[in-house]
């Protein structure tokens, strides 16, 4: 009797697990649905290969807990918050957890997940890979400007302790809080000089005018100009030489001797450090879309 009960319970648990897993609705990618690749991207072999390795999900859900790290209530709450923010701001705020990343890097997985689903252009995606213990935030479109590298790094730093301690739900909701805060603060001064220039999310930034430098430079230049012009107004000068009165034909430099008395050679070692400056903070995914982001281990 006991054995039957255990088997039953196991069966119910398995069934329940199956029910939980089946809550994430996925579709099949095939040529008739363009492999789920949005129209703004090219559809080459590279894109198809990458898309086929990416789950095709219902883009309205926004929270995809493939690794089952959240409780039911947590999932519901996260979904509610993510959907509320997304609707209000016309962004897609996405949370994905996966058991492992396959052969992709966290960056590539996160970028592909956003690009090869119907999330649109603008969004911020949090990826947690429990197998490799990676956490990664990928930003797309306007999200690159709103959630710039400073905010991404700050968010990663703030949520990593929760994730390390196994409070995945807390970490994810902390992420949503920080995203909401970012919306309240708006785009930072630095990034407000940037504009998205194409459908792929590429953006160009104007550098802020170095106004202090320009003012100081102008003051110095005009001061020097006037100084040298007015200096010419002082024309009475004491003569200190007699160049005009030296008879150069009669001048006779009869001794002109140079004797080498000493030679020294020293050598200094050149250290071959050629660290270039850091690259830009944006990169392109397999789709060709521009993304920002950052991540770390927990």
């Amino acid at each position: 009797m006991k054995k039957i009960l255990t088997v039953c319970i196991c069966f119910i648990l398995l069934f329940c697990g199956g029910v939980f897993a089946s809550e994430i609705e996925t579709f099949e990618r095939n040529s008739s649905n363009r492999y789920g690749i949005p129209k703004r991207f090219e559809m080459g072999q590279k894109q198809i290969d990458a898309a086929l390795k990416t789950p095709y999900v219902n883009s309205e859900e926004l929270v995809y807990d493939f690794a089952e790290l959240f409780t039911l209530e947590e999932t519901e709450k996260l979904k509610e918050t993510a959907q509320r923010i997304s609707k209000k701001e016309n962004y897609k705020i996405v949370i994905v957890t996966v058991p492992n990343l396959g052969r992709k890097s966290p960056m590539a997985y996160a970028d592909d997940f956003f690009d090869y689903n119907d999330f649109g252009k603008d969004g911020i995606l949090l990826l947690i890979s429990i197998g490799s213990r990676d956490v990664y935030i990928s930003t797309s479109g306007e999200g690159q400007l709103l959630f710039d590298s400073d905010r991404v790094n700050n968010t990663i730093d703030r949520i990593t302790p929760s994730l390390s301690n196994g409070y995945y739900g807390n970490g994810a909701s902390r992420f949503l809080d920080l995203v909401e805060q970012a919306f309240e603060k708006g785009i930072s001064d630095k990034m407000s000089l940037c504009t998205i220039v194409d459908d792929l999310g590429n953006y160009t930034c104007k550098k802020p005018l170095p106004i202090t430098f320009i003012i100081l430079g102008s003051v110095v230049v005009s001061f020097l100009t006037i100084f040298f012009v007015t200096k010419k107004y002082k024309r009475i000068k004491k003569a200190t030489d007699a160049q005009n009165y030296l008879n150069r034909e009669e001048k006779d430099l009869y001794e002109n001797q140079d004797t080498l008395i000493n030679t020294r050679t020293t050598r200094t070692y050149i250290s071959s450090s050629s660290n270039g400056g850091g690259g830009g903070s944006s990169h392109s995914g397999s789709s060709g879309a521009s993304h920002g982001g950052g991540g770390g281990k927990f």
Binding site: P210, S222, K237, T265
Partner: protein
């Protein structure tokens, strides 16, 4: 103290006779006679004999109108303040005060005035009122006493110089320093370095109107002074010779320096100057002087009476300078900002 004035009068009609820079002779405005230096020398000798007989023990009186003329002790030629006829104080030009030669004026008073008016024309910061006539004192043609020094000097300079070369090989930069001991010896002959022999003419101002063309030096004759002011020296040949020597030595050092420019650094250990000949000559050189009074400050101007070189400090109108500074600064800020935005891709 006995002093005689010698006025130049036309030997034909006795009208006042003045040296004309234009014709390099003496023209009588009244009877149109023209005299050369030779003519006047003859007449002068005759008259000297006559004058010695009737010496005036009271000082000196104008030979033209008889008025007493008061002049400072160094003046040798002036004009009578009453009748404007020229007066030359002969006794002050005798013996050691007789210049060996003189360069006669070539530039007229009008040319000097024109030259002065030109100085301010293209200057931006000059106050408008500066070249206004009412600020200009009377322009004076003065023969200024100068010492001309001939100085021949044997000079020797020794020192140590470095030539540094560097190259890189592998991961090293090599620096080679060659140290040389150098000696430069030479004879440097200077001719006619001018130093003014009068305390009350500014040395720098006199330096600024150099050079004079000494080819036009002529043997001194008092007759050249008529119509102009003249002074005798009050600084002897020995008192001011150091000025000429310093100028010569500076020139020698810069000449020698030019032969040392292959050294990237050098130290001069020893320099000796051994004069082989030194000689000073007393001459009178022609200078037009005028003073401009602007805002309670006197701006002295001098023109070389031979070459026409006009020198003097030009005052700067402060309000114009400040205004220009602000306008220029704002303009530069505007232009650079525009360039940054249009070319550099910067944004406000």
């Amino acid at each position: 103290m006995q002093e005689n004035t010698l006025d130049q009068k036309c030997p034909s009609c006795r009208a006042p006779l003045k040296f004309s820079p234009k014709s390099s002779g003496w023209d009588c405005d009244y009877c149109g006679s023209h005299f050369t230096i030779e003519d006047l020398e003859k007449i002068q000798k005759k008259r000297e004999k006559a004058q010695k007989k009737k010496m005036n023990s009271q000082g000196y009186n104008c030979k033209n109108c008889g008025a007493q003329i008061l002049v400072s002790e160094n003046v040798t030629a002036t004009s009578c303040i009453y009748c404007r006829s020229s007066a030359i104080i002969e006794s002050r030009l005798s013996n050691e005060f007789t210049p060996t030669s003189v360069i006669p004026f070539k530039k007229t008073k009008e040319e000097a005035m024109d030259a002065f008016k030109q100085t301010g024309l293209r200057r931006f910061f000059i106050p408008k009122e500066f070249s206004n006539k009412k600020n200009i004192s009377e322009i004076q043609g003065i023969y200024i006493p100068f010492w001309l020094y001939d100085y021949k000097v044997d000079s020797k300079v020794t020192g140590v110089g470095n030539i540094v070369s560097s190259w890189s090989s592998g991961n090293y930069i090599y620096t080679k320093t060659d140290e040389y001991a150098f000696t430069r010896s030479g004879v440097f002959p200077f001719y006619d370095i001018p130093v003014d022999g009068s305390k009350h003419f500014d040395d720098a101002l006199m330096n600024s109107i150099e050079p004079f063309d000494y080819k036009e030096l002529v043997p001194f004759n008092e007759a050249y002074l008529s119509g102009f002011l003249a002074e005798k020296y009050d600084q002897t040949k020995e008192e001011v010779q150091s000025v000429a020597i310093n100028r010569a030595e500076n020139t020698i050092l810069s000449e020698i320096n030019q032969t040392l420019n292959r050294y990237s650094s050098k130290v001069i250990n020893e320099k000796t100057f051994t004069p082989s000949s030194f000689h000073g000559e007393y001459v009178l050189l022609p200078v037009w002087l005028l003073n401009i009074k602007y805002k309670d400050k006197i701006y002295p101007y001098a023109m070389n009476g031979q070459t026409g070189k006009m020198i003097g400090d030009i005052p700067v109108q402060k309000s114009k300078v400040v205004f220009t500074f602000f306008i220029l600064t704002i303009f530069l800020i505007f232009i650079t900002s525009l360039l940054f935005i249009l070319i550099g891709g910067y944004s406000l």
